[in-house]
Amino acid sequence: MRGLLLFLLFAGCGSQPSSATITFDPCTPTIVASPTASADQQASIDDAIAMWRERGVTGLEIGDRPMVTIAFRDAADAVHGFYDDVNATVFVNLRLQDRAQRAVTIAHELGHAFGLLHIAADVRPSVMNTGNVTISPTDQDEAELATLWGACR
């Protein structure tokens, strides 16, 4: 009975999927591109890729035929980014004007593309904290990625 109650409790939450539909192995080549990005937006994309490379991710590359497309759209200020896991597209809010905040947002969404889920801010600081625009990938984020896919090096 207690088990059934716990099952119903957690089944009712349903806020975190087990994983995204399309995910990418951070250790195999994953081409990222944003055909319409401005120079400033492209700089943020480069920064986001550099953040993950610093954490041992070897697969992210910039190229012409993207496996992950990065697109910029207008939305409410409170919505920073979104990983469309059906179309493998990272959407970033046009209103994010700060290069560093935009880079962290892209890094967060690439985290979803690698299969990472949200981490509550009161659990630990993480690039995957909801609403995060300041924390780049951490040691623990790297460890979690290695748990999912194995270490790249």
């Binding site: 999927p17 200020d77 409170a78 919505v79 920073h80 979104f82 469309d84 905040q101 969404e109 909801t130």
Partner: protein, 221 residues
């Protein structure tokens, strides 16, 4: 014999009309502030009304977060004491609005649930048209629904519970059959908002005060 007939007629007539005259005397006048209403079964008036209307946030950040400045609402309100000067309103209010999201594949809805109680001053408690004012306290919950937000970096929390202080005015029409029609305007002050970041990266949250205009119909007894 003729005199007896006249007396008999007067006695009968007075016997028939006496209750009516007494009843009319007991009924409160239009401007009465009597604390009972003999025409209604409950003696004070208890009404239940169901309706809908429009609502919106007063804060710009919240208005920007949802896709439209004006959203829909539905409500159920029970008034205990609709025909006495001071009544108790108990209400449930539900709201729904779409989130101003990044793209069509990202859908999110902000669903609000409010349960509140208010003291209501009936200005013309015994008249068919009764303007009233009210103020009270309640509990409000907002839930962000829509699976795609689990893969989104946003300054919007999944859920928020807070205390609200509803206040406003309205006018109710009541006819002798028990039918009630009500128009209602509410400002709902939110005491502790914690749903949407005030600005990007901020640890403060946008105020979640709302306004409401609604209409409802129902029955009283």
């Amino acid at each position: 014999m003729k005199k007896i007939k006249i007396v008999s007629f007067l006695v009968t007539a007075s016997a028939l009309t006496a209750p009516l005259i007494a009843s009319a005397e007991d009924e409160p006048g239009i401007y009465s502030y009597a604390w009972n209403e003999p025409r209604l079964q409950t003696g004070i008036g208890v009404s239940a009304i169901l309706g809908g209307g429009i609502t919106g946030f007063t804060d710009q950040t919240m208005r920007d977060t949802v896709s439209s400045d004006v959203g829909g609402l539905w409500n159920l309100r029970v008034t205990i004491g609709s025909h006495i000067p001071l009544a108790l309103d108990l209400a449930y209010v539900g709201t729904a609005a779409n989130i101003n999201a990044l793209t069509g594949t990202q859908t999110g809805h902000l669903v609000g649930t409010t349960a509140e109680g208010a003291l209501r001053w009936n200005m013309l408690p015994h008249y068919s048209v009764n303007p009233y004012a009210f103020a009270g306290i309640g509990w409000q919950r907002y839930d962000l629904t829509g699976g795609s937000f689990t893969l989104s970096d946003s300054g919007i929390r999944d859920t928020d519970n807070s205390v609200v202080f509803p206040m406003g005015a309205g006018v109710a029409y009541r006819d002798q059959s028990g039918f009630v029609a009500d128009l209602h305007g509410t400002f709902r002050a939110n005491a502790r908002a914690g749903l949407v970041q005030e600005s990007v990266g901020s640890d403060k949250f946008a105020p979640m005060h709302t306004w409401e205009a609604s209409g409802a119909i129902g029955y009283e007894f």
